[in-house]
Amino acid sequence: MAATESAAPAESELDRGGAEDEPRGAEPEEDAGTGQAGPIAAAQQHRLAKLPLSRIKSLMKADPDVSLASQESVFIIAKATELFVEMIAKDALVYAQQGKRKTLQRKDLDNAIEAIDEFAFLEGTLD
């Protein structure tokens, strides 16, 4: 994920007047921020999280005990979910390989869930 280049537009505190006081890091992309940072920042956020924040938020709101959630929290959960997907896929792969297969199958998922503590919360939940 190209999160690094996103740093530039944030430094839009630089005035048009010219004096770019703080060349942030290696990217003297001063004028970055002005106006353009809108679509850019939005695009960057889309690059930062692959999963749609709106969908994540809907899921979160499904919990009756949840009243409000900050944007950051929605983002972090989205990101954590991505990491979770990566993790479970890799862990399940181990079982496929044990079975000398190159195709991940449902049973590999089931095995991973049963064997790995972190996935205990999934037991009995999948169709």
Binding site: A10, G33, P52, E72, L122
Partner: protein
């Protein structure tokens, strides 16, 4: 629509992409496995949310925040996520800051349009260029008025 929370699935295409990028080339994923992973992901969101919300409630806050989510990850034994999540959060915050300042700047911009709206923006999307052109036009109009 009173759907069960589990019915709020995450987009298949994105889930598939994440899976593919995590696995070595040449490995395939059956449709059933993909579907199960997608379901698991939704459940993960629900579980993480519930966990995080507990922390918020303990702190007597009504708004779930990023810190609550981090605490939840620890509680759920996903400490390995903490480091990458912190990094992602930093980048996200910067992006958010840029957005806010940008809309303020834009207002100022409309008064002070200069041609400096550089073409050196070429590294970024074309949207950039489009906005610049719009900005310049608006600027010109104002100059005329003045």
């Amino acid at each position: 629509m009173a759907e069960r929370p589990e019915d709020l699935n995450l987009p298949n295409a994105v889930i598939t992409r994440i899976i593919k990028e995590a696995l070595p080339d040449g490995v395939n994923v059956s449709k059933e496995a993909r579907k199960a992973i997608s379901q698991a992901a939704s459940i993960f969101v629900l579980y993480a949310t519930s966990c995080a919300n507990n922390f918020a409630m303990k702190a007597k806050r009504k708004t779930l925040n990023a810190g609550d989510v981090m605490s939840a990850m620890e509680e759920m034994e996903f400490e390995r996520f903490l480091q990458p999540l912190r990094q992602a959060l930093e980048a996200y915050k910067k992006g958010q800051k840029g957005k806010k300042e940008a809309s303020e700047q834009k207002r100022k911009e409309k008064k002070n349009i200069t041609d400096e709206n550089d073409k050196s923006r070429d590294e970024e999307e074309d949207e950039h260029m489009d906005d610049e052109q719009e900005g310049e036009n608006e600027g010109e109009e104002e100059d005329v008025e003045n």
